[in-house]
């Protein structure tokens, strides 16, 4: 594979006496789907927070597309092409599905200090928004207020918003969280279709999804990466570790 799009080195986040991430180092290759797995409390969501910029790191550095982004705020990282979804769906609930995605399109289309022209009839926003909705399978739900969408559809919409910003790296925090088997399969298919086109770093508990999608997997325990390898190797390694540690998954 080529050169890494994101490199994190020695990331640490301390909450009082607890080291949520403890010297975590990661390399994400361009084009891969990279999954982080680990038991509850391993610091997966904390790590995503540090990478996206919601949490400041106590130690360590993050390079993204060759740039040091360690001290950049969330919105600057986002405008560099770092998009994310949240563990608990985070969308604009009183906006229609199309308005949600149009907002994401607007985010990548320069600044929004434009006070006069209507954004509701702006083809530059609406046309690409409908395209992205189609891509995630929500084309016929465009005019529905997000609040009225099912949980699975809301997750799809959140993914659509992230995709609409044309990210260089997509951070997905448990994309299958709270989904039934049917919507889970749909989401896996969706992500699979993105494979190769978009670099994805995902945290996920659903092992089927992880082993189906991931090119590489990092196992996180107590804030440290104890292994990074292909799914096959991790799976074999897994049994060994489980035997020794007896605690994971």
């Amino acid at each position: 594979m080529g050169k890494p799009i994101l490199t994190a080195q020695g990331l640490t986040k301390v909450y009082g006496a607890l080291k949520a991430t403890d010297g975590l180092s990661l390399e994400i290759q361009k084009g891969e789907i990279h999954a982080i797995i680990g038991p509850n409390g391993a610091g997966k969501t904390t790590a995503i927070g540090q990478l996206s910029g919601e949490l400041t790191s106590d130690e360590g550095t993050i390079y993204f597309a060759g740039k040091d982004i360690t001290r950049l705020p969330v919105h600057k990282r986002a405008s560099l092409g770092l998009a994310r979804s949240f563990q608990i769906t985070s969308i604009l609930l009183n906006f229609t599905a199309e308005d949600n995605v149009a907002m994401a399109i607007q985010a990548r289309d320069g600044h929004s200090f434009k006070f006069w022209k209507s954004a509701r009839t702006d083809g530059k926003l609406r046309v690409p928004a409908r395209e992205v909705l189609k891509e995630v399978g929500l084309a016929d739900r465009a005019t529905i207020v997000a609040d009225r969408l099912s949980h699975g559809e809301q997750r799809q919409l959140e993914l659509a918003m992230a995709l609409a910003t044309r990210p260089n790296l997509l951070l997905l925090d448990e994309p299958m969280a709270g989904m039934g088997p049917a919507s889970s399969r749909k989401m896996v298919a969706l992500l699979n279709a993105l494979k190769g086109r978009i670099t994805i770093l995902m945290v996920e508990h659903d092992m089927n999804a992880v082993f189906t999608l991931a090119d590489r997997i990092t196992v996180l325990v107590y804030g440290r990466a104890i292994a990074t390898d292909t799914p096959e190797n991790i799976q074999t390694d897994f049994a060994v570790r489980q035997a020794y540690l007896g605690e994971y998954v």
Partner: protein, 332 residues
Amino acid sequence: MNRFQPTLKACILVAALVFLIGLPPIASALEADFYIGLFSRILIYALAAVSLDLILGYGGMVSFGHAAFFGAGAYVVGIFAFHGAEGSAVFSWPFMIMGTDNALVSWIVATITSAGLAFVIGAISLRTRGVYFIMITLAFAQMMFFFFTSLELYGGDDGLSLFTRNRIGHLSLSNDTVFYYTCLGLLIGFLFFSWRLVNSRFGMVIRGCKENERRMGALGFPTYRYKLTCFIIAGAGAGLSGALMANQTEFVSPSLLHWTVSGNILVMVVLGGVGTLVGPVFGATTLLLLEEFLSRYTEHWMLFLGPILIFVVLFARRGLYGSLVERIGDDG
């Protein structure tokens, strides 16, 4: 449904517009000129309420200090008029500005001053959230209240009388009808501007921040800057409204900056419909008419206003106008 509701809305708007345009000649014909003054006051407060709703209803910023901008705008007009009558300068450093009764100067300066004040207050207040934001905006407004109370040159807590109303070029606003139409024109202008604003890209960002600021940040919007800009626009609107108020009463005093004024403007917005543009106009009309007529019967008119407000909040959450044209995600 979609065909019916805009029609209902259009009917309400046209009826209101016809009423407001026709009011002065009818009031004069019926020898009830008093209503021209009353409705001028309503239009002025409506302007302030619409500006508050930009940050409150669309931006989700519950400011309890809108009187600061309202009062500052009024004082600018008062101070300019004071120096204009005296023939002296308002200030002479770094450059000299003479006092004047020309609206084109003093109203614009009033608007800019309030915008500048909103920049300072907003820049600090917007670093807080929720109840802290309410308290800090209130605290700033109180600071302004005591600041103007201590301005001995301009009457301290007694306030300052204007020698006469401003003029626009050669057009004197001393005529109540002329002044009324000036207020109406400015209100409609500001409503139109706000309508474009809330549906523009900027407006969508502001609404998005109200809905889910975290998501907006994650999409790449520097939310603080957008909210601050909105806060400044609202402050400017309130400043203009204050400039009109000084002309309406031909008197400015710290009471314009009292926290109850902020409260009243807030009540107008809630009464009429948070997050609608025309709602605050209805709210201002309702509140001031109730005040006018209830206070003829009793000085404890607030006692009756209270239950009405509770009723509206309980049973018409989107306010009087908002409930009438109920539609989620309305464009105003």
